[in-house]
């Protein structure tokens, strides 16, 4: 291109120069022509002729008697005009510069100057001057001759110069023409080269185009190219297969009409418009996008789309690569389905396990309870031995069932940790003592060392005991005539407490060290022969420890023994919450209170459980009315008044929660009677549900007498026996505060609670938003908890929950109970004041 430009410039320059020279030479030739013109030469020669004509006329006049002066004058005038012409004419400008010529012209001029006055004068004077004029004119002839000759010579020379100059210019033109021809040749050569190159590039372009066309045609992905208006300008074979339109059908049509499903068309058009106006790219150049497309037959199917834009001949085009992914989507969905099924199966299995364990606990409950009852009856020593064996077996079975249940709960994330304050040294000591008998029976020794233990830690005592017990049990299983050491040590800088159980047993091979914590794992047949077990113990222990925020591990030498360690955080001090009372705690915290006869309704569908509970209650001196299911329970509760109702939770048709709700909601004699749930498990969300339904307390099965009686005592409320079983109200308050402060606090609380109770029955109260009511109840509940009015606190909590859940029946029950319990609590506060002041 540059070369071509240079050639063109060269040609242009040559043409310009030639044009310039041609005009130049034209001028030269013109000048030459003028110089050579006959008129010029003629004028010069004519000056001599004119002179001679005048001379003849003058001589004629000289000879004539009557001279023709008019002719003489006219000839003079002609000569005069001739000289003037030579002096002035542009034709003679160059000539006049010749000094000799100038001299001659001056001679003529002088002649004219001398004679003109004479010629203009009178005839007589002219006539008189004729003779001298003849002489002068004769003298002037040679001058005129010289002048003509000079002119001729001058113009000849001038012509030569001009001719040479013209010739030189012509030669230059020749050279330049040659150069021009050369430049043209070069230009032609360049053009030929360019032409060849363009032919070549066109050919390779065509090849590339063909190749591209081939690629597009054979592409497995559908390719649709559109212009910026969305009209299809390219459509390949794969697209034909994918969408069902032939290429001819597709070309020129709007892509939106062609392949965009009806429900996406508006979005597509909006997207195209947005792209055209703002150039904002949402899909273009964003890689693979999953979308839906429409086939010719209207079927909508999933596609993978990759959209890119390109500028083609100044116009932007959009190229869509589309792949039918129906098969992939189908298999993905199959996979998802399979996964969902697997997960559901897993869940079903876990649920089955949980339900089975739970279901096994109910008959076990019956067996254990029966054994307990049998033990307290008179029988022979032999029978007592059998009974003890039965009890051991049943206990072991219960242990396994509990293990599986814990496992499945832990798996379901349902571990319900109850954190309490623990003295590790005491825990270790008690544990060792309780196991000493079994260990010594196995020929082993056990000792403990808790000298480095911390004074306090906060954890779930039951779970911790379960874990260490499991470790001690394992140590005992795999040790013969050896020693088992239980240690506890504080690791203060990490805030941990470490428990270690060391044995001198068979040990564990290194490769098995990790596996022993896996579920259902017993190491080999010899182990399982040697020691029975589900293989769940360590797995459960690990889950429990992890749930408590700790870790468990083992060091072992095969044949030397093992060391299991458990590290738990020391934990943070907790306040005891009266609402989360479990049977175990109740059992450990309270001794059975002396029984005062109560009228009790026992609602339990399981015959054995019903029998056991009834026996336990009757032996404690209570009067028991039995109901076989929820409906019967509700029916009986509507007929006579009870001091408390024991309600099994899982019953067919109407479960315990529902029955409680009905009793609370009906206008019967027991709508405010304390109801104690009997349940197989006590999860926090269950507690909430129970409280909301109006249940006052829950007992976890299997039942034991102590827990049952303690719970009964705690819910008895205003049954007239409070003084005998409840600790002195506000005793703690008195211990921790001085009298005056305690009195002031109690008085303030009395006012606050009194106010709430009064307002809660007013009409305005019902108009308040339910959240506000719940908040106010919550506030008083908090005060009650702080002051140790646990029963009032519990009632208020139940009421709050009922408000939060918008449970009208629960609210009604809660309000009624509030009025009742507040009466008791208020009496206690007043009694406290009276006592202290008195």
């Amino acid at each position: 291109m540059v070369v071509l430009l240079a050639a063109l410039t060269g040609i242009l320059l040559c043409l310009l120069a030639i044009w310039f020279l041609v005009t130049n030479v034209q001028r030269e030739i013109n000048a030459l022509a003028v110089a050579n013109s006959d008129t010029t030469q003629w004028t010069l020669v004519q000056s001599e002729v004119d002179l001679l004509a005048l001379l003849v006329a003058v001589q004629d006049a000289d000879h004539a008697a009557r001279p023709d002066l008019q002719d003489v004058r006219r000839r003079y005038d002609v000569l005069y005009s001739r000289v003037r012409l030579i002096q002035q004419s542009q034709q003679f400008v160059d000539l006049r510069t010749n000094p000799e010529v100038a001299q001659n012209v001056a001679t003529f001029d002088a002649f004219l100057d001398r004679y003109t006055p004479l010629f203009d004068g009178p005839d007589s004077a002219l006539e008189a001057a004729v003779p001298s004029l003849v002489g002068d004119l004769t003298g002037l002839r040679s001058t005129a001759r010289d002048f003509s000759l000079q002119g001729i010579r001058f113009y000849a020379e001038d012509s030569d110069i001009k001719r040479e100059r013209a010739a030189a210019t012509l030669a230059k033109i020749g050279y330049l023409t040659l150069a021009l021809v050369l430049a043209l040749l070069v230009g032609v050569a360049i053009l030929v080269a360019l032409y060849r190159r363009s032919i070549r590039s066109e050919r390779s372009e065509a090849e590339a185009r063909n190749r591209l066309q081939e690629v597009i045609a054979t592409s497995l992905d559908g390719i649709i190219a559109t212009d910026s208006e969305g009209r299809v300008i390219e459509y390949n074979g794969a697209a034909e297969r994918v969408f069902g339109y032939t290429r001819d059908e597709a070309l020129g049509r709007d892509m939106a009409d062609l392949v965009v499903p009806d429900h996406l068309r508006a979005a597509h058009v909006a997207g195209m418009t947005r792209y055209r106006t703002t150039r904002e790219r949402r899909v273009v150049g964003k890689g693979l996008v999953r979308m839906e497309a429409k086939r010719k037959d209207g079927v909508v199917f999933p596609v993978e789309l990759s959209l890119s834009s390109a500028t083609f001949g100044g116009e932007e085009i959009l190229v869509s690569f589309l792949r039918d992914i129906s098969d992939r989507v189908a298999s993905e969905q199959e996979l998802i389905l399979a996964r969902d099924r697997a997960v559901a199966g897993e869940r079903a299995k876990a649920e089955l396990l949980a339900v089975m364990s739970h279901e096994m606990r109910t008959p076990l409950n019956g067996i254990m309870g029966s054994i307990e009852l049998l033990q307290s009856s008179k029988m022979s020593p032999k029978h007592k031995t059998f009974l003890a064996a039965m009890k051991t077996s049943a206990g072991l079975l219960l242990h396994h069932v509990n293990g599986v249940l814990s496992m499945s709960r832990a798996e379901a994330g349902q571990l319900n940790l109850v954190v309490s304050e623990i003295d590790p040294a005491v825990l270790v000591q008690e544990l060792v003592e309780s196991q000493r008998h079994a260990i010594e029976a196995n020929g082993n020794q056990i000792r403990s060392d808790a000298s480095a233990a911390p004074a306090r830690m906060w954890a779930d005592a039951l779970r911790l005991r379960q874990v260490i017990l499991n470790l001690v049990g394992n140590a005992n299983k795999f040790t013969r005539s050896g020693e088992i050491l239980v240690e506890c040590e504080s690791i203060p800088d990490r805030g941990l407490v470490e428990f270690r159980v060391t044995d001198s047993g068979i040990g564990i091979a290194e490769e098995n060290l990790e596996r022993i914590f896996e579920e259902f794992r017993t190491l080999d047949t010899s182990y399982s022969r040697q020691a029975e077990g589900t293989g769940l113990g360590l797995a459960i222990s690990r889950r429990l420890v992890q749930a408590m925020g700790g870790e468990i591990g083992v060091n072992s030498e095969l044949g030397e023994g093992s060391l299991f360690w458990v590290r738990l955080p020391v934990g943070t001090p907790v306040q005891r919450d009266a609402a989360t009372r479990t049977a175990a705690e109740a059992g450990s915290d309270h001794r059975a209170a002396p029984a005062s006869a109560m009228r009790l309704l026992l609602v339990e569908d399981n015959q054995i459980n019903r029998l056991i509970a009834r026996e336990m209650l009757k032996r404690s001196g209570h009067h028991v009315v039995e109901a076989h299911d929820g409906r019967e329970g509700v029916h009986l509760a509507g007929q006579q008044v009870f001091d408390a109702i024991l309600m099994d939770i899982s019953m067919p048709e109407m479960d315990g929660v529902e029955a409680t709700r009905v009793i609370r909601g009906a206008d019967g004699p027991n709508r405010a009677t304390p109801i104690i749930a009997l349940t197989a498990h006590a999860l926090p969300e269950d507690s909430q549900r129970y409280l909301a339904a109006g249940i006052d307390a829950a007992l976890v099965k299997p039942l034991n007498i102590a827990a049952l009686l303690a719970t009964l005592a705690s819910v008895r409320g205003d049954a007239g026996l409070a003084a005998t079983k409840t600790a002195v109200p506000f005793a703690e308050l008195t211990e921790s505060l001085d009298r005056q402060t305690a009195a002031r606090l109690l008085a303030a609380f009395r006012g606050e609670a009194e106010d709430l109770v009064r307002r809660s029955v007013s009409a305005k109260w019902a108009e308040l938003p339910v959240d506000v009511r719940a908040d106010q109840v919550h506030k008083v509940a908090g005060s009650a908890a702080v002051l140790g009015a646990s029963e009032l606190h519990q009632v208020l909590k139940g009421l709050e929950t009922a408000y939060r859940q918008d449970d009208a029946a629960g609210v009604a029950v809660g309000l009624e109970r509030l009025a009742r319990v507040w009466g008791t609590t208020r009496g206690a506060i007043d009694a406290w004041h009276a006592e202290r002041q008195g």
Binding site: Q46, D77, S81, R84, S89
Partner: protein, 173 residues
């Protein structure tokens, strides 16, 4: 003006001349002053035997044309005033042929009648507003408007620019 148009115009003018000729023949008066130009030959209007003769007043009465131009024989721009050769030819019924012009010194040149066009040569009798004496190429000088028309800047036209003109002889083809 292109040559074609010029021809058409000339044709029209000549046609008008034919029509006017018989009337003009009777109205060319005899000269009252010194005769400065005599025309002979193929003319249809005469006032002196075979000739048509003109004094200065007659020429001046035929309509003045004035233009300014440079010439090869003078210095600077000159203003010439005279009667158009075209008007003269028309007046004398000359439509074709050539005119032999002769000067005092017997210089003679043939001028084709086709030169006699409007905007063409004039028989100048004033130079820069003043009558021209013989010494200053007078009394009549056939001047072409050289500067106004490039075609007039040629050697042939220069040779036809006859001064000290005294006689015209019209020769028909």
């Amino acid at each position: 003006m292109c040559a074609f148009m010029k021809n058409i115009l000339t044709g029209l003018v000549l046609a008008a001349g034919f029509v006017a000729a018989p009337l003009a023949a009777e109205t060319l008066p005899p000269p009252t002053g010194e005769v400065i130009l005599s025309v002979t030959g193929d003319i249809s209007v005469r006032n002196d035997g075979d000739s048509a003769v003109f004094d200065m007043d007659m020429l001046r009465g035929m309509g003045e044309v004035t233009f300014a131009t440079t010439t090869p024989w003078t210095e600077g721009v000159q203003e010439f005033t005279g009667v158009s050769l075209h008007t003269l030819a028309e007046r004398l019924g000359v439509a074709s042929g050539s005119i032999k012009a002769t000067a005092i010194n017997d210089y003679a040149i043939d001028i084709p009648v086709t030169d006699a066009v409007e905007g063409g040569p004039i028989l100048a009798y004033l130079q820069n507003g003043k009558p021209m004496s013989v010494r200053y190429n007078g009394p009549l000088w056939l001047v072409y408007p050289y500067d106004l028309n490039e075609a007039y800047r040629s050697e042939v036209i220069y040779s036809r620019s006859i001064w000290q003109l005294v006689r015209l002889d019209v020769v028909a083809d």
